[in-house]
């Protein structure tokens, strides 16, 4: 637990000095205005919750992809991976702490999005079902951290995958139904979408913002948590494999 806290505190301190890592929090409010302009221009005020929620989810995913995904690689480039591996605490805990810090900070995107809608368009999107919203948000943050731990290890294991890091954004925004619900996409996409926690999160968060009752809250939250847990487990296995390989090939200190 100490290692987790240490990783968390270290990452918070680091992020305070590396503005570029959280760049998407600068553009998230602008993205809210873009999406709201589309729905407002079309006269669809009922879709304001969609337009406010999507940029927050985009910020969450993007920061996980580019900041959490880079954590191990950054340690490697800094030359700090060797001492980290040599310490008697589990490196997985330290990195999980770092990922949790990034994920929590990226939730600021939600507040920004709501504020931008109010400040520019005078639109206040009420959280109609606060319990469902809170449950969905916590589960989403957990699942995002789990998915980020997979990315973090994969980017170290495979340089060729890292070359495609950039391409892991919009395909997942489409698959995850962050703005357009999966139900409106062609049927063959749905099985793929349902393997991405974002699709469950986006649907549940949207439902918590509309007056209709939220159905199957426990089961849907459970699916998000299960996908997040699967992410953490896969992430830990991959991390072990990545470190084993770095030890075996003697490349642990190669920046």
């Amino acid at each position: 637990m100490n290692a987790l806290a240490a990783g968390f505190i270290f990452e918070v301190r680091l992020l305070r000095r590396s503005f570029d890592e959280m760049m998407v929090l600068v553009t998230a409010p602008l993205m809210t205005l873009i999406l709201l302009s589309i729905t407002e221009h079309a006269g669809r005020t009922d879709l304001a919750p969609y337009a406010v929620l999507a940029p927050a989810l985009i910020a969450l995913w993007t920061i996980a992809l580019f900041t959490s995904g880079e954590i191990i690689e950054r340690e490697r480039q800094n030359g700090s991976l060797e001492p980290l591996v040599a310490t008697p605490v589990a490196i997985g805990s330290v990195i999980t702490g770092q990922i949790l810090a990034v994920t929590l900070l990226s939730l600021v995107g939600f507040a920004e999005s709501w504020l931008a809608a109010w400040a520019a368009f005078g639109i206040v999107v009420p959280i109609v079902h606060p319990t469902a919203f809170t449950a969905a948000l916590v589960a989403t943050a957990f699942a995002m951290a789990g998915t980020a731990s997979v990315m973090s290890s994969v980017f170290v294991l495979s340089r060729s995958v890292r070359a495609y890091q950039n391409s892991l954004s919009y395909p997942f925004f489409v698959l995850g139904g962050v703005m357009v619900p999966v139900a409106l996409l062609p049927g063959w996409i749905e099985p793929l979408s349902r393997a991405v926690f974002l699709s469950w999160s986006a649907d549940l968060l949207r439902d918590s913002l509309t007056p209709e009752p939220v159905t199957n809250l426990v089961a849907r939250t459970g699916v998000i948590l299960a996908l997040g847990t699967a992410g953490f487990l896969i992430g830990l296995v991959l991390l072990r494999r990545a470190l084993d390989r770095l030890r075996r090939t003697g490349t642990i200190g190669v920046a």
């Binding site: 570029d20 600068v26 602008l30 302009s37 589309i38 407002e40 391409s167 919009y170 703005m179 357009v180």
Partner: protein
Amino acid sequence: MLPRDLLAPFRIIRYSAANAWADMWVMFTPASWTFGYLSRLLTQVIFFALIGVLLDSPELVRFLFIGNAVVFMAFEAFISVATTTWERRQGTLPLLVAAPLPLWPVFVGRSVQWLPTGLLSSSAALFVLGPFFGVTWRLPQALAVIAALLVIGVSMYCMALVFGALVLAAMEMRNMVYNVATTVMMMICGVMVPLTFWPDWVGAVANAVPLTHGLAAIRALAEPSAVAPIAGEVVANLLVALGIGAIWMIAAAVLLERLAGIGRRSGSIEFAA
């Protein structure tokens, strides 16, 4: 025969462009560009076009599709904001400032690799994805669209050089400037909603961006009945885009030379002052 000094800027631009092209193939392989970079751009177009499906409006699907496909030409030209700073990062800027020739041609050529890639990205979206979103082209229109994309690319590149010159003096701002500028362009230049949606002052700002006029020309070309009746409108829009681009180019050249002068005088020479 033209004096050697008059031809010098063109020679510098040619060398600098060769440098830019070499950079391109260090950054990307054809596979990573196609499957990593282009595929992401295409899904971004799909993401925004699908909002038209959410709004249950085929007309808005087309509007959003065209806007988001064309905007990549401008985005890629704007990557030069970041790549302009590479000369300083690589430590070659002091040598360039010390050289007895103007600095601006170096930067005019330095990021041209983004023009062909932008043209390819936008063309792939418009012509390959287009039919899936109800956007089809006849051959004369398609050729005119390519010409319009080139105009957008060149004129936006000129605008980007001004921003590039500014971030040379504040390197840590390069990603921020690129991200904010391109997102604002998406918002106000007629990419997502018509200009008339925004207050007049926003429209005035948008009119200083060549993309606004180039995109209007391409939207006119996309009209099913488009050919002769809209030719004048298309040409007028493209000429306005080029004219605005030329003004940005002059501003960029003045700014770069001024920054070089300040660097020489203050001894900082890297624009660090």
